[in-house]
């Protein structure tokens, strides 16, 4: 790194003299120093243009962006894009929206499956579900007497790969009560996929304190 220190004027006068004495006698180091000095000299010439050319290139980029934005209106892009848009709108009007309307206004049947807490050593159950009906899981929370009274319960549903797929909360039916609490978790088929799931239930006190209550682990197998 002596050549770099030399080029950066970091050497003491004595060290500089010693380095020069060596360089004048050593063709290899001389070539190294010449390359470095030439690079620095040429960089000094080019760096101002380089810095100055940035705004210009930025403007050119902006011009390029404007051109590419308007190019979307060219028929080659616009015609297929509008055709695709019409197909999507048609599918939503004739298939998706009626199905949603029906599911919102009609009673829905879903298979009911018992769910056991993992903390109580229950085996991991497997539920079969389909896209239409999903699955309904009864959550039977056992509240221990020594637990801090919860004002609400927080639910974290994690899907395959441990990814958090849903989170929700529900007020406790009888705050402070030490009896079991029963909920039903209906998971629509649209958000399910085959794989391991876990549901973590946490009690939340009025002061915001959180106490894990139960964790339910189960597997989902989709049939369609």
């Amino acid at each position: 790194m002596t050549a770099e220190r030399y080029l950066l004027n970091e050497l003491t006068p004595d060290a500089r003299d010693a380095f020069e004495e060596h360089v004048f006698d050593c063709p290899e180091c001389a070539l190294d120093l010449r390359a470095g000095a030439l690079f620095v000299r040429e960089a000094k010439v080019q760096l101002p243009d380089f810095v100055a050319s940035h705004p210009r290139s930025g403007m050119a980029k902006a011009r390029g962006k404007r051109t590419s934005w308007f190019s979307w209106w060219r028929p080659a892009f616009a015609v297929p894009a509008f055709a695709a848009l019409l197909i999507v709108v048609g599918y939503q009007n004739f298939v998706t929206f009626p199905a949603l309307r029906q599911s919102a206004n009609e009673p829905r049947l879903a298979p009911l499956a018992p769910l056991r807490s993992a903390t109580r050593g229950a085996t991991r159950p497997t539920f079969t579900a389909d896209r239409t009906h999903g699955v309904a899981l009864p959550v039977d929370l056992v509240i221990e007497p020594e637990m801090a009274p919860a004002a609400s319960y927080s639910f974290d549903l994690r899907g395959p790969q441990g990814k958090l797929v849903w989170t929700g909360s529900l007020p406790a039916t009888a705050p402070g009560a030490d009896s079991d609490q029963l909920f039903s978790l209906d998971i629509p088929g649209g958000m399910l996929q085959s794989g391991p799931y876990s549901l973590m239930v946490t009690g939340v006190t009025t002061q915001g304190g959180r106490t894990p209550i139960e964790q339910y682990n189960f597997d989902i197998v989709m049939t369609n």
Binding site: E4, L8, F24, D25, L33, R41, E42, K44
Partner: protein, 200 residues
């Protein structure tokens, strides 16, 4: 053209003998090779290009005079050290004379226009420019700004390093890498054709 290409000479008895005998090819190599080094050395000590040229010329004149007078060097392999030594003497005399009288070192004098540049010089200079441009483009914006602050704006190194949040070692490594990259191209693509005084 052969005399203008890079050839690797070794500074031995034969080289010094040819130099003393006035062999044109050896003399051309000698002047080109040491001009590059002398200019690098003198740039940090003298301000004007005229003064640098004058010291270079005086150094060569004295070296050749001594070699011819004494019929060579006792240790031919130390020719480089001898040139450096003579340059130090010339520089010392220059400092002394410039403090007494009007300086050779015309402060701020513009660099004299290069003379005698042929197509090869122009092509080589263009290749050098392109290589440096490519290396600069590969650097991050921050590294380019760092180099500019140090070499062009000539700002205080510590202040610059503090501003950019880097250590002094980072600057050295940055320069080292850029230099190494340039050197590869310099030797590979230009070195075989470049006249030795192209980087003077």
């Amino acid at each position: 053209m052969a005399g203008r290409t890079l050839q690797f000479y070794s500074f031995d008895a034969k080289y010094v003998e040819d130099l003393c005998a006035g062999d044109s090819q050896t003399q051309e190599h000698f002047v080109a090779y040491f001009t590059a080094l002398l200019k690098i050395k003198l740039r940090s000590r003298l301000q004007s290009f005229h003064a640098i040229d004058d010291v270079c010329q005086e150094t060569f004149a004295r070296v050749l005079q001594v070699l011819r007078r004494d019929g060579g060097l006792r240790q031919p392999e130390s020719l480089g050290a001898f040139v450096n030594n003579v340059c130090n003497h010339v520089l010392f005399e220059y400092y002394r004379s410039s403090s007494r009288s009007e300086s050779l070192d015309a402060e701020g004098a513009p660099e004299p226009a290069a003379t005698g540049a042929d197509v090869l010089d122009i092509v080589s200079a263009r290749q050098i420019k392109e290589n440096v441009l490519i290396i600069l483009m590969r650097l991050s914006k921050r590294d380019r700004s760092l180099l500019k602050a140090v070499f062009l704006d000539e700002r205080d190194r510590d202040e610059v390093c503090q501003e950019f949040g880097v250590e002094r070692e980072y600057l050295r490594v940055l320069l080292h890498r850029a230099k190494q990259e340039f050197k590869v191209e310099y030797v590979k693509h230009i070195g075989n054709q470049v006249p030795l005084n192209a980087d003077t």
